[in-house]
Amino acid sequence: MWNLLEYAAWVLSALFGVLMVADLIRIDMTYDSELLISSREGEIEATAERHEL
């Protein structure tokens, strides 16, 4: 049984890896790079909290 589990673990590992890499490539080819790296720190705080008493 453990031999089968070893094979299953290899197969599942490859599957999760392929799913991630395939999605990464798809997203990178679909969306503009500038949009993907457009996140900026602190934008929410700037509008929602003034950090003043």
């Binding site: 790296i37 602190g42 700037a46």
Partner: protein, 465 residues
């Protein structure tokens, strides 16, 4: 385009999803740490005996209570992904921020690798109990990293909800073992006679040496603040989740020491691979054995899961400010996760999990964490000096300042000595690594940093500037 946020300038931006509550913060912090109750802490007993193990438990508990208090105040104010990296950037300066970011990434990636190694060890133990000795652990190590990375890739809410469930089960398992043994479910009675017959087998130096592994009870609770940019109300959720987390861990750590020290001789306990699971086996109760095996497996997975979350946020945050190549600072437009950072860190975790011995990986993680705690001490002093109480809004104000800072610094110094006693070479090698990395950042990388854009908190000018 409903997943995007339009700025005042009318441009579309993608940001991390704000979907988490205090329970997820608790799950992140306790999830990373609780594995330390299931394994690792017991080497402190091996270094100095039962009493040294208990003192390491409580002294390290005091250290981490200071960490949690200090971290709660600063992070409830600097609520950004990257946690202590973002704090260092705003309060100390870029070189410190770069180093703190590296501490975080290395500490969490090493811990993730250590957890994956432990999953393989656990399954090997089970296979051995079923007569299948010599299990190939590699596919299970790889699977645990790949599955959790995929989960992290798909979204933070599912990831930390998963962590909440398995962490709660692992915590309940410790309570169940404690209560069951107290009510006589164990075939072997609790025996603390070694406390009087063999109180300090290696003398007082054994207590200092044991502190190294005492950190393992709580290592990683500061990881809660990596979720700062993804919680709905950072000023409330982060202090609440972090303080609830450290209280949970103090209870779990004390119960763990009590049960394990009472059921097993300290000489065995000091070198056991899975002490809580072994304690359950000693009771002779099959139900407890199954429960503690499940608890061990869940605690290990929860820790690896939280580590992937935190390491990727730190890497993402540094890249967003161009401390590292900006390519890693991308957010997935659908899942709203730092997907490139998550994928990039997978092979690094795999290399350490498959190619490095467990104790070296763990020591590197502990040392990186310790450097981070040392940073917190002067970061806190500078924070209070530059922006005194009343100058800016804080979600939480920790009491007795600067006492927790002083206590933390003293305990960090003692922990360095403890690490030096056992792993002096690794300590020196790691310091060299960070010095070389700092030189690279100063001479080759800093020119790419967005110097103006990186300071994002709308604070008034600091005192004295």
């Amino acid at each position: 385009m409903e997943d995007f946020t339009s700025t005042a300038a009318g441009t579309d931006r993608i940001r991390l999803a704000r979907v988490l509550g205090p329970s997820h913060v608790w799950a992140l912090g306790v999830g990373i740490v609780l594995v330390g109750e299931y394994m690792g802490w017991n080497f402190s007993v091996g270094k100095g005996g039962m009493i040294a193990g208990l003192m390491a438990c409580w002294v390290a508990g005091l250290l981490y209570t200071c960490v949690a208090m200090i971290d709660s105040e600063v992070t409830s104010t600097v609520a950004a992904a990257g946690g202590q990296y973002a704090q260092a950037k705003h309060i100390v300066g870029p070189l410190m921020a770069f180093n703190v970011g590296l501490f975080l990434v290395m500490a969490y990636t090493m811990l993730e690798a250590a957890n994956a190694i432990t999953v393989g060890f656990l399954l090997d133990t089970v296979a051995g109990m079923q007569g299948q000795a010599g299990l190939n652990q590699q596919p299970f190590i790889v699977l645990s990293i790949m599955f959790l990375a995929w989960l992290n890739y798909r979204g933070v809410l599912a990831t930390l909800t998963f962590n909440l469930v398995i962490t709660a089960i692992a915590f309940i398992a410790i309570i169940a073992l404690f209560v069951s043994v107290q009510f006589g479910a164990s075939a072997v009675p609790l025996d603390f006679s070694a406390i009087t017959s063999d109180p300090l087998p290696y003398g007082w130096v054994g207590i200092i040496a044991s502190l190294h592994f005492g950190l393992w009870y709580y290592l990683g609770i500061e990881g809660t603040c990596q979720a700062a940019e993804e919680v709905r109300s950072p000023a409330r959720s982060l202090p609440y989740g972090t303080m609830a987390g450290i209280m949970t861990l103090l209870i779990a750590a004390t119960m763990t020491w009590y049960i394990c020290s009472g059921l097993m001789p300290w000489e065995y306990l000091g070198q056991a691979g899975t002490p809580l699971f072994d304690a359950a086996r000693v009771t002779g109760n099959t139900g407890l054995m199954v429960l503690l095996f499940v608890g061990t497996a869940f605690a290990t997975l929860a820790s690896a899961n939280g580590c992937i979350n935190d390491a990727s946020r730190a890497w993402f945050s540094m890249s967003r400010d161009r401390y590292l190549p900006s390519w890693f600072g991308a957010v997935h437009p659908v899942y709203r996760t730092p997907y490139r950072a998550i994928v990039f860190l997978v092979p690094i975790a795999l290399i350490f999990a498959l190619g490095a011995p467990l104790d070296q990986v763990v020591t590197f993680s502990i040392l990186s964490g310790l450097l981070g705690y040392t940073f917190m001490t002067f970061n806190m002093v500078m924070f209070r000096n530059k922006w005194p109480l009343g100058k800016i809004k804080r979600g939480y104000v920790h009491p007795f300042h600067p006492l927790p800072t002083i206590v933390l610094l003293v305990l960090c110094s003692t922990a360095y000595l403890a690490v030096f006693l056992g792993y002096g070479t690794q300590l020196s090698a790691m310091m060299c690594f960070y010095i070389v990395a700092s030189l690279w950042f100063h001479f080759r990388r800093y020119k790419f940093v967005r110097r103006g854009d990186q300071f994002t908190m709308p604070w008034p000018k600091p005192e004295g500037y």
